[in-house]
Symmetry: C2
Subunit: 324 residues, 2 copies
């Protein structure tokens, strides 16, 4: 079975740190990620550059990423204007967050959940009016689907109702997102089971964080109920700048190791992923990078799901990177 | 549903660090763990004190732990002599490791796997000859059940065959152990499914490490196939001194949070667990302690499975402990 690991580091990771990575370094990192076998990369966010100056070069990064063969270039947009900018830049796919928590929605995109859902209808109408061949795929991620730092628990019925309404507005895929690291495995199973039952083929992937150490545990829970697309970021960088304390995506390196060890094909090479990590570390010296596989490497006897065995310690970060 | 979290920090944790925790501090820590609701605590190891001087006071620690009402006092013994010493000290339960890897078995206890299995028969014969009321329960943990740092992969048929032979020797419970952090969730599901099928009520718990960040993910996999006893250590300290690079038990704090969030009753209080962690940190200043919950605490809206809601941030370590 194949699993899609969607790398969100160049967007979710880089938007949550204070420094801005130079455009050329972003492009080098994305090229290295693609060389490691990542097939979908979220390369930037078309938000107001005054709010997130780290993402001001999104169009330039998308343009460079489009020159890499074989990858899906994904960009985040918070609204119609952002989606239009992303499409103009050429993004293959646009992901739009809609928060299940009304308070978080207002803090994050300046409008309540109902208005954010309605806007998906406007975005779809605009997208469907584009010439064939220039229509990006539109996916929606329901953020705070597992709880909210402002409101606390978010009722599961509400989350599913929102997902159904988003699909009805025409969204082509609706995923569930835990950008604040609240999700637990039982909840992940319940919500994705209901999402699949209600949305069928429009049920999207899981965006899970590791805030409480539960990231990979939630992946296992999601796999149990048929989820096959997972967001992660190299080195685990990333969080939500509007949710205090909410840092840390799932670490791509650890996720890939776990999936491959389980016999699930990711198409990603851990040794080349370590090379991409060195590019990231060199561009952001001193920035905290996380992950267990970069420390210890693969175990003796590790085999990829479909590509056979590799030497013990594959995927370990280089000394240079570790010193950074 | 109730889950038993078996705290192994005072044994697995303390045997893997270079310093020896003073006996009085060990006892204070064990008392604090019991006060937090831990019902089974592995308090020491009856190994040759020349090999593991950190465990030389095991009899004294067992004696003190016996004075704490309501807990099961567990001790590790590598052989008959150790089991006899543990029983003389009064341990309620003795856990004996038998390695599925012949090379690891020789390195760890000085005899091959077949001899180690045969010795379980001798231990059961001795135990059954003790007067009623003085017979400790005997459990066996099959170590390197998920792979070995010396041999690499260990065939699953071999692991199950060993477990069956151990049960036939009279072991009352046979668990599976990943002291080297090799296990992946698919493997955990396969092996525990087979263990339950072959051993029924004698199938024991899971001893899982977090070496590759996969500890809680493996817990979720084990829960899926009915495992209800999990070893962990406070602060994630612990490893196997004979397996290079193999450090880090599952962190008790993170495990308890995840299980309770999933609706599984552990009986453990996270705020009191943070107090126990402060006792540990004070006794071992500068020692690395791990865990996400001690950093971020519970989320807004967190409720225990059966005991209701607590304030956001419960379980966060104190400033004193974090500075340590």
């Amino acid at each position: 079975m194949a699993v899609l690991v969607s790398e969100v580091g160049p967007r979710d990771g880089l938007q949550s740190i204070h420094r801005t990575m130079p455009t050329a370094a972003k492009i080098r990192w994305i090229q290295a990620l693609a060389a490691a076998g990542l097939r979908e990369i979220e390369v930037g966010s078309f938000v107001n550059p005054k709010r997130l100056p780290q993402m001001a070069d999104a169009a330039e990064v998308v343009a460079a990423a489009l020159r890499i063969p074989g990858i899906t270039v994904l960009a985040l947009a918070p609204n119609l204007l952002g989606a239009q900018r992303a499409a103009a830049a050429g993004a293959h796919k646009i992901t739009i967050p809609v928060s299940a928590s009304d308070s978080h929605s207002r803090a994050n995109v300046g409008k309540g959940t109902d208005d954010a859902i309605a806007q998906i209808g406007e975005i779809m109408a605009w997208r469907n009016g584009l010439p064939e061949g220039a229509r990006p795929e539109i996916e929606v991620g329901v953020s705070t689907a597992f709880g909210c730092t402002i409101e606390g628990a978010v009722p599961e019925d509400r989350v599913i109702d929102i997902a159904v309404r988003l699909a009805a507005q025409g969204a082509e895929s609706v995923g569930l997102s835990d950008g604040v690291g609240y999700a637990n495995p039982a909840q992940v199973k319940r919500l994705f089971t209901r999402l699949h039952a209600e949305l069928g083929g429009k049920a999207g992937g899981a965006h899970l964080h590791n805030t409480r150490g539960q990231g990979l545990a939630n992946v296992v829970a999601a796999l149990e109920v048929g989820v096959s697309t997972f967001d992660s970021s190299q080195g685990g960088i990333g969080g939500c700048p509007y949710s205090p304390g909410a840092t840390g995506n799932i670490v791509t390196e650890d996720l890939v190791w776990m999936l491959e060890a389980m016999g699930l094909d990711t198409g990603i090479d851990l040794a080349k992923l370590a090379e991409a990590r060195a590019v990231l570390a060199e561009a952001l010296p001193g920035e905290a990078l996380y992950g267990h596989i970069p420390d210890v490497g693969t175990e003796k006897g590790f085999s990829y799901a479909t590509r056979g065995a590799v030497p013990e310690g594959t995927g370990r970060a280089t000394r240079t990177e570790r010193a950074a």
